[in-house]
């Protein structure tokens, strides 16, 4: 039993590392697909490329996948709804609006765009939260969902206005490319900027993963089990929104990871969050790296990451929904 657990933990940690290690050699230099080991050993440009471009980008793609998958799993439990995803509550639309605002009125410099995106992601969340507190009917979950939908709609309308105002030859393509998502501009600086938030958020969620089960029960039952429902929910929600906001701010809008990976993880490990959250983290990292590999090598340019994750995610989702072993919990 104990050995089995250790083996599982080992596999969950080592698999993303192996995928990351192999991916360092994947790209279009010196020729498409695999870079021979000799290039890394002897070619100055190759070394530079791997260390300064591929490594930070791959680590970021792993953190992106991990964060979105984990945040998705957490939110599904907090909202007691398996179809919730982390962009929910105005976070994604807020980030998109913030990025477009910066591209249009400030600068297209990545760091400024990212900060603006992160700022508006958090504004989106806060708006959803405070509006939900003012709604006078329904349970807490319903109120959050309703205000999240409304806030997202307002930001997407705002985004529409910004796109309409944007210069169609220079600004509009920037906005569109940002919205499609991608990691082409990631540097070590970006990585250092998201790393602390992502690590803190993931550690909080990892440590409290069993409590998530309690928070997926009705308020009265959770209360009767001694859970500080409001406080614990807010802490876990804040952790998952924070990690979502920072990764979205560097990567743009990358969909479906947060919805699909927790579902696959539950298939593998069962519904108990103590076991499926770690699987989600590991699987999310692997999925993030592989999708970014595809984004880099599929064409001579760069395929936006959001397109790849949506395409693969939606196909997997369809396969899962139509396969015989799928049981709907209702």
């Amino acid at each position: 039993m104990k050995n089995n657990k250790n083996l599982t933990a080992f596999v969950l940690v080592v698999t993303p590392l192996i995928v990351l290690g192999i991916s360092l050699f994947i790209g279009r230099y010196p020729k498409p697909l695999l870079m021979p080991l000799s290039v890394l050993l002897h070619d100055q440009l190759g070394q530079n490329l791997v260390y300064n471009l591929r490594l930070p980008r791959l680590i970021t793609s792993a953190l992106l996948g991990m964060s979105l998958a984990t945040a998705g799993g957490v939110m599904q439990m907090l909202f007691r709804n398996p179809l919730v995803e982390p962009g929910f509550l105005g976070v994604t639309q807020g980030a998109g609006f913030g990025a477009a605002l910066s591209i249009l009125f400030l600068t297209t410099a990545p760091l400024v765009v990212e900060l603006s995106a992160a700022g508006f992601a958090i504004i989106g969340l806060l708006l959803s939260y405070f509006i939900a507190r003012r709604i006078r009917f329904g349970g807490w979950v319903l109120r959050l969902v309703l205000s999240g939908i409304a806030v997202s709609a307002i930001f997407s309308a705002g985004l529409g206005i910004l796109k309409y105002m944007a210069d169609p030859t220079s600004q509009l393509p920037e906005i569109v490319f940002w919205l499609l998502g991608g990691l082409w501009s990631v540097t070590w600086t970006d990585l250092w900027y998201i790393l602390p938030v992502v690590v803190i958020g993931l550690v909080i969620i990892y440590l409290m993963r069993w409590r998530l089960n309690l928070l997926s029960l009705s308020d009265e039952t959770a209360f009767s089990l001694g859970v500080a429902v409001g406080r614990e929910r807010t802490l876990l929600l804040a952790a998952s929104v924070a990690i979502t906001a920072v990764v979205v701010s560097v990567a743009g809008i990358v969909g479906w990871i947060g919805l699909i990976i927790p579902h696959i993880a539950r298939r593998i490990a069962g519904a108990n969050a103590a076991s499926f959250i770690p699987v989600s983290m590991s699987l999310g990292a692997v999925f993030g790296i592989i999708c970014d590999d595809l984004a880099r090598v599929l064409t001579t340019g760069e395929v936006p990451l959001g397109i790849i994750t949506s395409l693969i995610g939606a196909v997997i989702f369809l396969i899962m929904m139509t396969s015989r072993s799928m049981r709907i919990a209702r």
Binding site: W210, N213, S216, S218, T221, S224, G226, V227, A274, A329
Partner: protein, 274 residues
């Protein structure tokens, strides 16, 4: 020293400060190792009263003492080790196995970052066994029937090992056989030392098991007392606002509605003024 486990004094609660009280100036006490039925029609304030006993709601006036100590002097953890709740039903959207779900009952004994150990799982297994559903251990919750789910909910609260167990309408959506199974388990728990309080609108379920009845209507307690004292044609008619008759069949108390549909012509449909 007062031997009562729970003492309720002059308790009032209102959902809307301007409107009617959902619970109005209620007082009673509950002795250890007894079963108390809070009996009354829909909307009488039974669930609200249970939530007040759980401290899920804060009373407007009055007090509740648990083992001689005011309820709000207990820490959240302490309280959850003393009082458990079996909700009327629970919608569980994820496919926990019955064992995983029951193990959640160990939360009051675990720290905020702790994960249940093997001994907690063992207590959960024991709880499933106590309610006679060990065979459901690995079954996903959404695949359970209504009767099975009720037993698993009960097992989860047993796993909590509370001194006082509150049950909200534990028999209301069960068929007769499952109702009796649930009542038998409650009886066993009482003999094992637990104090039970349950709300119900079914007087016959109350008559089968309760040591004491609290009859409620429109937020007020009409009567409290033993079965012999308060389980009468007159008080039950008053509680339910419709004419009923208490009969004895085979030594059991049975309640029969003796009002025709459209019986308002005889002016007796609302003996208790709201």
């Amino acid at each position: 020293m007062n031997p009562a486990v729970i003492q309720v004094n002059d308790l009032s609660f209102s959902y809307n400060p301007a409107g009617n009280a959902a619970v109005h100036q209620v007082s009673f006490e509950i002795l250890p190792q007894t079963v108390t039925a809070i009996l009354g029609p829909n909307g009488a304030g039974k669930t609200t009263l249970l939530h007040l006993l759980l401290r899920l709601k804060t009373p407007l006036t009055g007090s509740i003492h648990l083992q001689g100590r005011p309820l709000n002097h207990y820490s959240r953890h302490e309280l959850s080790q003393n009082i458990g709740l079996v909700p009327q039903t629970e919608y569980i959207p994820f496919e926990y196995t019955a064992l995983e779900y029951v193990t959640l009952g160990r939360a009051p004994y675990l720290g905020p970052l702790e994960i249940p150990a093997e001994k907690d799982t063992e207590i959960a297994r024991q709880s499933l066994k106590e309610v006679g559903v060990s065979h459901l251990e690995n079954r996903p919750i959404p695949a359970l029937s209504g009767g099975e789910l009720q037993l698993v909910l009960l097992a989860r609260s047993l796993c909590q090992q509370p001194r006082v167990l509150l049950l909200d309408e534990p028999t209301s959506h069960l068929d007769l056989a499952n109702r009796n199974i649930t009542l038998q388990i409650m009886d066993r728990l009482r003999r094992a030392g637990t104090t039970l309080v349950f709300s119900t609108h079914d007087p016959e379920a109350a008559a089968l098991i309760a040591d004491k009845l609290v009859l409620m209507r429109a937020g007020q307690v009409l009567e409290t007392g033993s079965l012999e004292e308060v389980f009468t044609t007159e008080t039950l008619s008053r509680t339910y606002g419709t004419r009923v008759e208490v009969l004895q069949v085979d030594g059991l108390r049975v309640v029969k509605s003796i009002e025709r549909l459209g019986g308002e012509q005889n002016g007796q449909n609302n003996p208790a003024e709201r």
